[in-house]
């Protein structure tokens, strides 16, 4: 039992002992000999690559595995003293709350108030208790204004909060969250993590959170558990986890830790505040950016995308409203642009208007041979053979453009997530390549949702290749770290208007939310990636030498990305 649990003299919020689990008809087990304990009031971060077993572990902790999914299970899972394998998810509902990745399928009622009240009603609580609990959890999550709304009028972020409220309303001892920030903008994502931390501290709720964007939540965690191929690869404090990632899985490290690692600075920071503290204590003067004066003028010449005086109106049920308001924007062939902004800022609407899925109410938009990949690539896959999706020479050329020509006879369902995304892009590109096989405009809407860093690197390489061939690339994304790596220009939208448009290094270092972790650590204009930051730290006059560990330094030029 952990020190914290012993101190409080309580049973652990979650105790997993030698748990092995295989889904029905699965070739390999999803979890293998997993042992884990979460103490009451502990905040544990679950790290790992895609399909490593994080979600399965969370589902085992709330009783969905094996009760709902079936399969073979061995070992023991106890939640707040209840045997999770013997009891079903319904019986565990009072002790554990679960928030899954997709908020749309996590609500079952029509209105927010009814959704939050449902678990209490099922438990048989009295009317007074229910009303009070709903009010309190709504206040805690800052959603009292949503209580009377219909759930299908809520944004993704609002829906995620409602799902969290429904999970917390029974005052469970443990709350499990599966990538809750994957659909949220940086502002809402940060808000959610700190809200969880506050609930954890003030209500004493133990939190087990699975995430890919570790830089968002590492500083809030008491402990990190890394899952590798269904086994526990690491279990310890965040700082030790960062040291472990350097040795065993660099794709799990955070940008700030990578910055320190490349610059050879010890100890590795678990968050921005930690990193700034080390740097502020050791640097003599302010760090000077090597690229402070960058031109924001757009090159004149051919245009792959142009919007002029564009207005788009949408009606989501509460009356029509202007989602895009007088946008002027051009993108040149070969340019790589990140389209960023809060949820509801108009990013997806702009791309959908350019692809002629929505008609503008005023202004004009023109896109040359545009291929748009929407947020869910699997929507493009309707046949059981890749070659049937993309027949003929045009199909083969599109497969070649995304590097998938080898998979002509494969079943799309057997492809990995990254390959399915490439195939969907090829379907959108087919017939839109010029004589040399070069696409016009390639637009992707939130392509890194739920991706681990390895898959992001593959996507980055593909985007680089298409841009090098002359395609204009526009990617709508909330992922500032990915934007900093792939984009040369960032367009920031706010409430349907362009609020910033310039070189990515300038835009992503000039704010707080839409800034990379490295930019927030160094606060130097123009420095957004660990590689550039490390180069600056190594070259700057500083007293960092006392912190630099020559053994740990990777060198700023190595292992980019």
């Amino acid at each position: 039992m952990s020190e914290l649990a012993i101190r409080r003299g309580a049973a652990p919020a979650l105790a997993v002992e030698q748990l092995s689990y295989s889904y029905p008809r699965a070739a390999a087990p999803a979890l293998l000999d997993v042992s884990l304990e979460v103490a009451p009031g502990e905040f544990v971060l679950l790290a790992g690559r895609s399909a490593s077993g994080k979600s399965t572990l969370l589902r085992a902790a709330c009783g969905l595995v094996p009760h709902f999914h079936g399969g073979e299970v061995e070992g023991r899972v106890e939640v707040a003293g209840l045997d999770a394998i013997a009891a079903g998810p319904g019986e565990l509902a009072a002790a554990v709350g679960y928030v899954a990745q997709d908020p749309e399928t996590q609500v079952v009622s029509t209105t927010v108030a009814a959704e939050i009240e449902l678990p209490l009603e099922m438990r048989g609580d009295g009317p007074g208790d229910r009303a009070r609990a709903v009010e309190e959890v709504a206040l805690a999550l800052a959603i009292p204004h949503l209580l009377g709304r219909a759930v299908d009028t809520l944004s993704g972020g609002e829906l995620q909060r409602v799902a969290l409220a429904a999970a917390l309303v029974t005052r469970p001892r443990l709350v499990l969250l599966d990538e809750p920030t994957s659909q949220l903008d940086p502002v809402s994502g940060d808000e959610l993590i700190w809200l969880l931390r506050r609930l954890n501290e003030e209500w004493g709720v133990a939190v087990l959170l699975a995430e890919h964007r570790l830089e968002r939540c590492l500083a809030a965690a008491d402990r990190v558990v890394a899952v590798e191929d269904g086994r526990i690869g690491f279990d310890g404090p965040p700082r030790e986890f960062l040291a472990w990632t350097r040795e065993f899985d660099p794709t799990l490290t955070t940008p700030a830790a990578r910055l320190f690692s490349l610059a050879g600075i010890e100890p590795l920071p678990v968050g921005v505040r930690d990193a700034r503290r080390v740097l502020e204590a050791s640097t003599r003067g302010a760090l000077v950016s090597p690229e402070q004066h960058q031109s924001t003028a757009r090159p004149k010449g051919p245009r792959a995308f142009e919007a002029k005086g564009l207005w788009v109106e949408l009606d989501s049920g509460d009356g029509a409203r202007d989602v895009i308001r007088s946008i002027d924007l051009t993108v040149a062939p070969g340019e790589r642009v990140a389209l960023m902004g809060r949820n509801g800022a108009g990013k997806s609407t702009l791309l959908r208007t350019a692809a002629r899925l929505i008609d503008p109410v005023a202004g004009r938009v023109a896109a040359e041979r545009m291929a748009l990949l929407t947020q869910s690539p699997s929507d493009f896959l309707v046949r059981e053979r890749v070659g049937d999706e993309l027949p003929g020479e045009a199909g083969l050329a599109a497969l070649r453009a995304v590097g998938m020509e080898h998979a002509l006879d494969a079943d799309p369902r057997d492809l990995s997530g990254g390959e399915r995304q490439r195939l969907a892009l090829a379907i959108a590109l087919a017939g839109r390549l010029d004589g040399d096989g070069v696409p016009g405009l390639v637009a992707l809407d939130e392509p890194t949702r739920g991706m681990d860093r390895g898959r992001k690197e593959d996507l980055h390489a593909l985007v680089e290749r298409l841009a090098a061939q002359g395609a204009a690339i526009v990617i709508a994304t909330h992922d500032v770290e990915f934007a900093a790596e792939f984009a040369e220009r960032v367009v920031l939208l706010g409430d349907g208007v362009v609020i910033a448009d310039g070189p990515s290094a300038e835009i992503l270092s000039g704010g707080w939310y839409f800034a990379t972790e490295v930019a927030r650590v160094l606060d130097v204009p123009g420095v957004v990636t660990p590689e550039k930051g490390a180069a600056l730290l190594v070259d700057s006059p500083s007293e960092l030498s006392g912190h630099i560990d020559p053994q740990s330094s990777e060198g700023p030029g190595e292992g980019a990305g």
Partner: protein, 337 residues
């Protein structure tokens, strides 16, 4: 994209009423539609249903229901005109048609079709208003103790409908975004894909229901009384409409015979039923009560320490109200609602 029939929470009388009262009220209009074939009465029921929807703020649902209702009505009129050859006023002789045989289009068959079509349209508008104004959560909550399994199925379906609609919209968009060189996607392939996807969605929604404790069975806790000051109004209107409709039917208010020649009676009973049914459309109106602000002259109050002087006299003596209440203080004005 939201369905035009999706429930929108509002604070109108129809939305605030208990599901039973709202169902009784809208159901009374549907009963009228099925009880009567007289076009004036059916028209009155249709107008009443539209009016009720408009007053309840369900304009989008009414519009959509009217579109669907009129399309259905038109279909009924066409089919009735083709398959019924009764009536003396022949408008067109189409001759011998396969399956149908000899087809004569008569005015009477068209009018009879209009009557049937109106009945369908009234029913659709009433259901549209019900769908947009009655909270499904409250209906399911009321249903749960009576039929737990049916309530579970209804919950699953009611959630899957908007989710599947959203999935269908996304699949349609993905179909339109396919490059011209990709294999075309027919409606059949999209439907298969939607069905497969909706099964996955159903599993996710069912998992959420499990986690909310739905499998524990019927809740044993006390049900929250859901008070509504509008219930009596809707029950009363429903009772009046039903009574008028039944009495009217008995005394011959449904005075309509399409064959052999058209007869549409507009006697006093028919007009009376029309008036009652039409007036019932006003039931969801929100009566704004005027706030009456009355100045109440308060009786002079003696202050124990200042013999012989009222507060007003003392304040006048001091020039201003140094303490206590000034003569012009608004606190002496009593709001009465």
């Amino acid at each position: 994209m939201r369905s035009p029939f999706a429930y929108i929470p509002r604070r109108g009388p129809l939305q605030s009423a208990r599901p039973g009262a709202a169902v009784a009220y809208l159901g009374a209009l549907v009963v009228v539609a099925f009880l009567y074939s007289s076009p004036p009465v059916l028209l009155a029921a249709g107008v009443a249903a539209c009016l009720a929807g408009r007053l309840a703020g369900a304009r989008t649902a009414v519009r959509a229901a009217l579109r669907m209702g009129f399309a259905l009505a038109l279909l009924i009129v066409v089919v009735n005109a083709l398959v019924v050859d009764r009536g003396e006023t022949v408008l067109a002789r189409l001759g011998e048609l396969p399956i149908l045989g000899q087809v004569d289009i008569t005015l009477e068959a068209i009018v009879a079709g209009v009557s049937l079509g109106l009945r369908a349209a009234v029913t659709m508008v009433a259901f549209g208003v019900y769908s947009a104004c009655v909270d499904p959560d409250r209906v399911l909550r009321a249903l749960r103790p009576i039929a737990a399994r049916s309530a579970l199925t209804a919950t699953l379906v009611s959630r899957l409908v908007p989710v599947t609609a959203a999935d269908a919209g996304r699949l349609r968009d993905a179909g339109r975004l396919r490059g011209p060189g990709a294999a075309a996607v027919g409606k059949g392939a999209l439907a298969r894909r939607l069905l497969a996807g909706s099964l996955d969605r159903a599993v996710d929604v069912a998992a959420t229901l499990e986690l909310r404790g739905y499998s524990l069975g019927v809740p044993h806790g006390r049900r929250r009384p859901e008070p509504s000051r509008y219930d009596a109004r809707f029950y009363a209107v429903a009772a009046v409409v039903l009574a008028a409709a039944i009495v009217g039917k008995v005394i011959g208010a449904d005075d309509f015979h399409p064959y052999p020649t058209i007869h549409i009676g507009l006697g006093a009973p028919t007009l009376a039923v029309c008036a009652v049914v039409l007036a019932s459309g006003l039931a969801p109106i929100r009566v704004a009560r005027r706030q009456v602000r009355r100045r109440v002259a308060s009786p002079p109050r003696r202050t124990p320490g200042v013999r012989g002087l009222t507060d007003r006299e003392r304040a006048m003596l001091l020039g201003t109200a140094r303490q206590g209440v000034s003569p012009r203080s608004p606190s002496r004005e009593v709001d009465r609602v």
